[in-house]
């Protein structure tokens, strides 16, 4: 798609090894990028992609291996060396000083000054505006970072690199924080950049994005170099298999359904959001044993409020929630968890799902620590807790399988496994899963889906709420479409018309 100049290798990383203590994060990685090329780095969470580019950018020092920039061997001791050699990086977590203006952020470390170190901001602003225009970045140099959107902040990061004369631009998971239209803008910007002869290294674990923008793709799996492929010659399926190390099925495997009796009834539920505006306006739903009911809808149509009402976190204004025909409206969260055995995989795994500072074992017993055998007369029984955590970690494939690690130190996928181990491990009657695969890579997504299906096959009820229509269609037995706080239609998932649901999600009638 772009004019790659194969005679010019801008980046060569040869056999790069990076160890953290005994842990090998990069184990002999090779990467070659040419002028004008978009090169994707693909790998699961924790595969070592960020570590590799941090070595290239001088933030980490490789334990072994060679780095060549434009054919010349280079010892990238710190980011200054990288910057001087035309390497720029947009970090996964933005490196922007919030109270500063765009210009201040861009010139930081390379300030334009008059005499005696006095800043010359207006000269800098002019230059920033120039670059912004040239690459179609649409950035106002005087805006404060805290006032602009995430998409704009990312463009400021790109500008920051270009201002420093970057010829090689590293983008670490740039699309993770963007909305779909913002992603399209980014794709345009990347095209503009390669047109000007820049080389781009883009990290992502979204396969269709690789197909869309990248020329070549290097796959890393658990720190090891797997292969470099020309993107046009492989399918998404093949990329996924290389990344995960086994066949990945995008389709969810399900046995035929054995639908049981009705277990949960939601009748005419009315709930307000934090601003006191009605978020659920008389929502009704029925959930049966042995089924996965998927709630499809665009973000902000009452999904969060529905989950919070069901889990006892939000007051119900009117309407009823029935479990086995017994009213449980207004029950407290603890009652719902302990008494009714309704368990939840929450939407925000870091805020509500885990105590990040606690270790894996403590997170696993968050709902049961006060019961035997984990405690006795108010005193925790640590040997039992850690034994249980050891077993769970093996059963649910939590990596690394070390119950003493803090939840914070795990990758997103493994954090989600801890939550699933806790919620599913308690054998719930009803499992509520809210956005259970958000931000996860394909391997982890497959795992989560399999866990939900297993619950259903065991005759339990699963309520799945997701903004990803594909997910809802693939995983569910039945689909309910939510729009503006009401269910506007329910249908069997099999053979469903995607367009029809899409229309209903947008408020159109079918």
């Amino acid at each position: 798609m772009t004019a790659i100049d194969f005679s010019q290798k801008t980046v060569e990383m040869i056999n790069v090894v990076k160890k953290f203590g005994d842990f090998v994060a990069n184990d002999g990685i090779n990467l070659t990028v040419h002028k004008g090329e978009v090169h994707a780095l693909l790998g699961e969470n924790g595969a070592g992609k960020t570590t590799l580019v941090n070595c290239l950018y001088g933030l980490y020092h490789p334990t072994a291996g060679t780095i060549r920039i434009n054919g010349r061997e280079l010892n990238v001791t710190d980011p200054n060396v990288a910057i001087q050699n035309g390497i720029g990086m947009v970090h996964q977590h933005f490196m922007l000083v919030e109270p500063f203006t765009v210009t201040q952020n861009i010139i930081l470390g390379r300030e334009t000054t008059k005499l005696m170190g006095i800043l010359d901001l207006s000269a800098a602003e002019k230059k920033v505006a120039e670059i912004s225009e040239r690459y179609g970045l649409a950035i106002n140099p005087r805006d404060k970072i805290e006032d602009i959107s995430v998409g704009s902040q990312q463009r400021v990061e790109i500008l920051k690199a270009l201002y420093r004369g970057a010829e090689i631009l590293i983008l670490d998971e740039p699309t993770a924080v963007l909305t779909p239209p913002e992603i399209q803008e980014l794709v345009m910007i990347i095209r503009n950049l390669t047109q000007e002869g820049k080389s781009i290294i883009i990290i992502t674990h979204k396969l269709h994005e690789i197909k869309q923008v990248a020329d070549y793709c290097t796959i890393i799996r658990r720190g090891k170099y797997i292969d470099t492929v020309e993107v046009d010659t492989v399918t998404e399926q093949e990329l996924a298999s290389m990344m995960v190390g086994r066949e990945v099925s995008f389709a969810v495997e399900k046995k035929p359904q054995k639908r049981g009796p009705k277990i949960l009834t939601i009748d005419n539920l009315v709930v307000e959001d934090n601003r006191g505006i009605q978020a659920l306006k008389g929502l009704s739903l029925e959930l049966h044993k042995g089924e996965i009911l998927g709630v499809a809808g665009v973000d902000g149509n009452g999904q969060s409020e529905l989950i919070e009402a069901l889990t006892g976190l939000r007051t119900v204004r009117s309407g009823k929630i029935l479990l086995h025909n017994k009213e449980i409206t207004g029950a407290l969260p603890k009652q719902i968890i302990d008494g009714y055995n309704i368990r939840t995989i929450p939407e925000d795994r870091q805020k509500r799902g885990l105590v990040l500072e606690f270790d894996v074992a403590e997170n696993l017993v968050l709902e049961t620590y006060h019961k035997k055998p984990f405690s006795w007369r108010g005193v925790l029984n640590h040997p039992e807790i850690y034994q249980y955590a050891d077993d769970s970690a093996k059963e649910f494939d939590i990596r690394p399988a070390n119950p003493y690690l803090t939840a914070k130190s795990l990758s997103g996928g493994n954090q989600q496994k801890v939550i699933i181990a806790r919620e599913v491990g308690n054998d719930p009657e009803v499992l509520i899963a809210s956005q259970p695969t958000r931000g996860l890579d394909v391997g982890a997504i497959e795992y989560v889906h399999a866990a939900l299906v297993e619950q259903r096959d065991r005759g339990k009820a699963v309520l799945l709420v997701s903004f990803e229509l594909d997910e809802v269609i693939n995983v569910s037995d039945r689909i309910a479409v939510i729009f503006e706080g009401k269910i506007v239609g329910t249908m069997a998932a099999e053979g469903v018309d995607e367009n029809e649901i899409g229309l209903m999600m947008a408020g159109g009638t079918s």
């Binding site: 933030l59 490196m95 470390g109 800043l119």
Partner: protein, 317 residues
């Protein structure tokens, strides 16, 4: 009428005099905290500075030399704080507490050594001069003990403090170094990725804060009074710290807050001088009570530098 005007002049004058030590120290606080390092050791640094100033001024008879050495003494303690907090990633509050023991301990130890076992120095021969003194008196521009005299015939340290507010403001907001200090205090990783040495900036800022706190102590012991004693500082470093927070981590804000606290002290002295029938001990509590009220009630929501007190550790990478 003239009596009232002179009373006002007296209050303004004493306010200026007592605000000055706070202002030096508070500016030091602004610099270090804007770089992301909490320094509650200002009190100990001020204490030590007060001692060094009086001792050097006593032995050399040169108050300016004493003033400078006080800054260096404070900077020395600042260096210790920086080594602990920046290089060794120590808990900043704990290190600050240690400095608050170390500063006075060192001062009293040396005081006993130099002044025959006494915990105070002897009276210094020359205080910091009054730069505008030539304007006041018989046959001069203004008569002595009038309003102008009471307000403006002040120690050079008073004028220096205000100049320093201007200077710190300028450096912080208008220069490259200042921008880097702010960046390091807000988002050290961002600064690091742009090749700025977080360690170096923080070292500089913490040492400067010690220097300024030392000057604050000096402007107490060789200007406001003319000797060091072990009760001289008694919490002024903490008040300066409070002023910095009340002033929202800005040099100009810290200045206004220091003037407010200094004003309480000025008022206290005024009431004392007027023989108001209130116990002097109660009056002496005024600035401290004001500190508590201000911090509890009026400050409200402030946003400190985002990375304040957080450890930045690059090792192992």
């Amino acid at each position: 009428m003239e009596a009232i005007i002179n009373d006002i002049g007296f209050i303004i004058g004493t306010t200026l005099m007592y605000s000055t030590p706070l202002m030096f120290t508070s500016l030091g606080g602004v610099i270090t905290e804007r770089s992301g390092v909490v320094n509650i050791g200002l009190e100990g640094m001020m204490f030590f500075g007060a001692f060094v100033a009086a001792t050097v001024a006593y032995y050399t008879q040169n108050p300016w030399l004493g003033f400078l050495c006080a800054g260096l003494g404070g900077a020395f303690l600042g260096l210790l704080h920086a080594i602990a907090c920046v290089s060794f990633a120590a808990e900043q509050i704990v290190s600050g507490i240690a400095i608050n023991f170390l500063g006075p301990g060192l001062a009293l130890f040396l005081s006993r050594l130099f002044f025959d076992g006494a915990t105070q120095t002897l009276t210094i021969p020359n205080k910091i001069p009054l730069p505008l003194h030539f304007l006041f008196g018989e046959g001069k521009l203004f008569k002595s003990a009038g309003f102008m005299d009471l307000v403006f015939n002040r120690f050079a340290t008073v004028y220096l403090a205000f100049l320093l507010v201007l200077l710190v403001w300028f450096v912080l907001y208008k220069t490259k170094v200042g921008m880097r200090v702010q960046a390091v205090g807000e988002h050290p990783e961002a600064a690091d990725t742009l090749g700025i040495s977080v360690y170096r900036i923080r070292y500089g800022a913490v040492i400067m804060s010690g220097f300024f706190a030392g000057l604050g102590g000096a402007s107490m012991s060789i200007a406001v009074v003319s000797r060091f004693s072990n009760t001289l500082i008694s919490g002024h470093g903490f008040i300066a710290l409070a002023a910095m927070i009340f002033g929202k981590w800005k040099p100009q804000g810290a200045m206004l807050a220091c003037l407010l606290f200094g004003g309480a002290k000025g008022f206290e002295i005024f009431l004392g001088a007027k023989g108001v029938p209130v116990s002097s001990s109660l009056l002496a509590m005024l600035p401290y009570i004001l500190t508590i009220i201000v911090l509890v009630g009026i400050v409200g929501k402030t946003t400190p530098p985002a990375a304040i007190g957080k450890i930045f550790d690059k090792s192992g990478k």
